[in-house]
């Protein structure tokens, strides 16, 4: 009911926006994509007092949801105060399950949330709108305008009509596809071995601890990735997995999902079922050029170890948006090139280390995972934490120590 009201509201806003569009054929900044990264880009740009428009290809902001929906409390609250209307579960425990079934439980004071992304994304987009950004849904960007080798706007399709809009800076927050960047000459495509190809479902009538994130590891469960069961209440969960494109040569994510469900919840009703992709790698070498910047999944600003990209995408977007707004105000467009370095210092460097850890961990055999779980379970509950897990992983793989030390030092 609530959601419908929100959607109706948004629909009305949209109509108003279309009217406004008739009057404007040029914006200071155009953002492509209204996910968390796009919305934060637009908000931080608009806060600089420049004109900003978001173009979203889908009819709805926040739908469909292609994500496990878990995020740390801290990651959210940097950008929006916590709100129960988009929190489906408060997470206090991780349950890490080794291939032989050994369960390792780690408790936290307040680790984070499982979100209702369709409402969360929506609320984020509203903060961008509040800051003054315009939003147009159903607008499919299919090319760029250039002027003197600089990106100067976008071509897009709206309600069957091909249109153009000029902009001083275009910011691609167009997700895993990341085509806007390619059109501008940036190399955005991801090596298929680094693409975590995900299949996920929302399932009801199952019993889960509403405060626990469940992770399953193993070559037969989710090779080169992990299987997740994230609660959304006590009888509903977001269940899914990602596997690398390398694994996909033999078996798809869907194959592993079906195996897991047949084994564990053969009769559970499935409420939603969807595919998605996570570019689990380091950030692109170049995420800005004259007239163009990239943010979020499009820039490959994903934590490659966890596959989490909501918080890091919002951070990337906020940096990009603020810089772009400042560049427009100063009329100095080479200023946006500072973005690469600012991002690298904030998170990019850390992601490089996470990526090396990922490559180390995903090469572990099932036996190694089992052994780590067994030895970890000898530690009393109150002394467990994630860095201890890593420490135990290290006993089997000492060269990872240097990388892990770096994560906690930087």
């Amino acid at each position: 009911m609530f959601l419908q009201e929100v959607k109706l509201n948004f629909f009305i806003q949209n109509i108003l926006l279309v009217d406004n569009l008739k009057m404007k054929n040029e914006y200071d900044i155009i953002v492509v994509g209204a996910g968390p990264a796009g919305s934060m880009t637009a908000r931080f740009a608009a806060e600089q007092g420049v004109s900003v428009l978001i173009l979203e290809k889908d009819r709805d902001v926040g739908y469909p949801v292609r994500c496990g929906e878990a995020i740390s409390k801290q990651g959210v609250e940097e950008f929006i105060p916590s709100d129960e209307k988009w929190i489906k579960a408060h997470i206090k425990k991780f349950s890490l399950n080794a291939p032989d079934g050994t369960e390792v439980i780690i408790e936290f004071k307040e680790a984070g949330y499982v979100l209702e992304r369709r409402i969360f994304d929506y609320e984020l987009a509203k903060t961008a709108a509040k800051a003054g950004a315009g939003i147009l849904t159903g607008a499919y960007v299919n090319g760029l305008l250039f002027e003197n080798d600089k990106v100067a706007g976008v071509k897009y399709e709206y309600r069957g009509e091909q249109k153009e809009l000029r902009a001083k800076i275009v910011i691609g927050a167009d997700g895993v596809e990341s085509r806007v960047g390619r059109w501008a000459g940036l190399k955005t495509y991801v090596d298929f071995r680094d693409m975590e190809c995900c299949a996920q479902i929302t399932v009801s009538n199952i019993s889960v601890e509403p405060n626990t994130l469940y992770f399953y590891f193993g070559k037969n469960i989710a090779p080169d990735g992990y299987f997740w069961v994230f609660p959304k209440g006590s009888d509903t969960a977001n269940i899914g997995l990602g596997v690398s494109g390398m694994v996909g040569k033999k078996h798809s994510a869907l194959f592993f999902l079906n195996e897991f469900m047949n084994k564990n919840y053969p009769d559970a009703p499935i409420l939603t079922s969807i595919a998605g992709g996570v570019p689990s790698t380091i950030t692109l070498r170049k995420i800005s050029a004259p007239g163009i910047m990239l943010a979020g999944d499009a820039a490959r600003q994903v934590n490659p170890l966890s596959g989490g990209g909501i918080a890091s995408g919002m951070i990337g977007g906020s940096i990009a948006g603020k810089l772009a707004g400042e560049a427009v105000k100063m009329n100095k467009f080479e200023y946006v090139l500072k973005y690469d370095k600012l991002w690298y210092d904030r998170l990019g460097k850390r992601h490089e280390v996470f990526n090396r850890i990922k490559n180390g961990i995903y090469n572990f055999s099932d036996e190694k995972f089992n052994k780590i779980a067994h030895s970890f379970n000898k530690i009393p509950y109150n002394k467990r934490n994630l860095s201890k897990i890593f420490a135990h992983a290290l006993m089997n793989h000492p060269s990872l120590l240097v990388d892990i030390a770096k994560v906690f030092v930087v």
Binding site: D58, V176, E177, D191, S252, A253, L254
Partner: protein, 75 residues
């Protein structure tokens, strides 16, 4: 039989649009920007495709097939 022509000869990659979820994995791994993806529409841009099959391996739900015979042209 008429076949669709890719950059490197007959097109061998076949997307089954009716079963597609429009998630974008294939687009993200395509080195040639040879896949067009809208809200609920997907197709290969034939003259750009090199039949490299990276999209086939990356599809989480087995909607892209490698067809050795070639993909017949639309009638």
């Amino acid at each position: 039989m008429n076949y669709r022509q890719a950059k490197t000869g007959k097109l061998l990659i076949d997307i089954l649009p009716d079963r597609c979820d429009f998630c974008g994995c294939c687009v993200g791994v395509c080195p040639e920007d040879a896949i067009e993806l809208k809200e609920s529409e997907i197709f290969i841009i034939d003259p750009r495709c090199t039949n490299c099959a990276k999209c086939v391996w990356s599809c989480p739900i087995e909607v892209i097939k490698f067809n050795r015979e070639g993909v017949p042209a639309r009638s």
